[in-house]
Symmetry: C2
Subunit: 358 residues, 2 copies
Amino acid sequence: MPEALPYGAVIGILGGGQLARMLSVAAARLGYRCHVYDPAPNPPAAHVAARATTAPWDDAEALERFAAEVSVITYEFENIPVAALDLLEAQRPIRPSRRALAVSQDRLTEKTFLSGLGLEVAPFAPVEDADSLEAAIETVGLPAILKTRRLGYDGKGQVRLTGAEDAPAALQAIAGAPAILEGFVNFEREVSVIAARGLDGTVACFDPGENVHREGILRTTTVPARLSASQRADAALVAGRILNALDYVGVMGVEMFVTPGGLIVNEIAPRVHNSGHWTQQGCAVDQFEQHIRAIAGWPLGDGSRYADVTMENLIGEDVARVPQIARERNATIHLYGKAEVRPGRKMGHVNRITGPAG
Amino acid sequence: MPEALPYGAVIGILGGGQLARMLSVAAARLGYRCHVYDPAPNPPAAHVAARATTAPWDDAEALERFAAEVSVITYEFENIPVAALDLLEAQRPIRPSRRALAVSQDRLTEKTFLSGLGLEVAPFAPVEDADSLEAAIETVGLPAILKTRRLGYDGKGQVRLTGAEDAPAALQAIAGAPAILEGFVNFEREVSVIAARGLDGTVACFDPGENVHREGILRTTTVPARLSASQRADAALVAGRILNALDYVGVMGVEMFVTPGGLIVNEIAPRVHNSGHWTQQGCAVDQFEQHIRAIAGWPLGDGSRYADVTMENLIGEDVARVPQIARERNATIHLYGKAEVRPGRKMGHVNRITGPAG
């Protein structure tokens, strides 16, 4: 077993949104303090972190000062500029590693990596211009989705093509960015596995959650997902294969489509994941603590679940329902402390305990 | 229903120990920020609070600045100097109220108040000197415990008398402080009820927990406590009567002895209570959130429990067992971030989920 981060050490978190906020609370529970780095002033995580730095990603001095004050660095989102990461990594370990970030930051790299592991993914082809789009339509078929290779977020940077005549408009919509055409998958449901790998290489998975999206945004995750025992086992095996291949350290969200032919990996996120928020009320060690345990060299929680839970995101004006939700039995409210309500903005979530683990 | 504290408002907490730390996290979950006031630098709560003031209790300027920056004030311990409270209360509401503090700060006032409500308490008599001690022994009988009227903490300021010959040494031990002699109660077990009363007067109780003390310090709390259905109902009724009589707002810990003749109230604490830490893993709304809900004018959680839990305190060197505990299934670790391990010091606690609510 590798040496654990000493009690009282400071963990640096890149990004100060709700994921960093919940990571910070979990780290405190294990006796650590957190230092959050975010270009925006007063981010949600700063309310519960020991320290916060407000500085842009290209402020070398601020980055170096931040790195000097922390023992290990993690992140809550994938789009951290490469130059900042180079600078930080020269001083402190970044967990999960750069490789995980590189793979997941680019949809083409990601799909190529996943299919290289022998995992099923949606048909895909690279797109750079009108010619390659035409060729991609040939390969992938229609309908399909044209997505920018670099990450969009919550459905941004994605255009649907139903006929060849949609091609010019689609190309225009993504404004010439390197892209990937993905075929549609005829799936019964979408699930995700929140998996973790420790510093010692141990892998632990939480039960798969069943996700419902609307307008490209996750609305609910329900455990248990409607899966057969063999699908459940497959889901954990798929996640484990990905984590091991990346020599990964930390929590990863793996989204999968359930089809009659088996599981198809949709995408991976090298961080704690919205579809894992249910673990806060369903497990002794939730995904946030699991991530901190992994990057701090602790033994992982085994992922066992003691309750059935449905997580509902509170998006934009959903937050106005909080006074009603507060009267519900067995509902736990998590608000993110964001100052401004905006349409499509994740303001919080609710975990509803629906019974003992079934 | 009274108006709830607006989303994003700042709650002031007097004291920055582990109770303030867990209150701060709960307040953040409901969208509030916390400002902690503590004379000691870098207290545990400061790691997860939006703001911390380090200043003594007699720093009028610091107190006034603190009050000006918060919307409501609460506290995590009872021994706050009266002058500080006077100053703060002139600017902002203090919840729970001064009356609850006054009653619980003085063992004689407390016992008199409780027996005035028609509740059973241990036999008691005031002690000021050798003569009144002799009279008290006459009234109360022996063995008995001589306790200072003002609060000690975790068994400090208490002397046991088994014979009349112990009287001089006992008086010397409490150094002439105003005191109370309490008779021994022959009890089967000790339980506590964590009860809450909202701004609108609603009362909600968590299930009674069964407590085990050693050397005057709480070691474990187990739910469910071994109580009959009628004892369980009695416990909630007793707690409700106390809260209503004080027009109380917030969470209170009520310790009771279970005897063949019924429940005897031992003491009350006008705050979240160590014996309520199990609620973090057993309830959708835990005692910390319940307290914040009460003082912020939210509807209370109903106190329903979905798991059986045993809470174990990690006292002093117990914390060295954390690496082993981290490998246990269904154990949730809560460390307080205290820099120094000292004998008898509460360093953290573990909640072990032992099954679905039974």
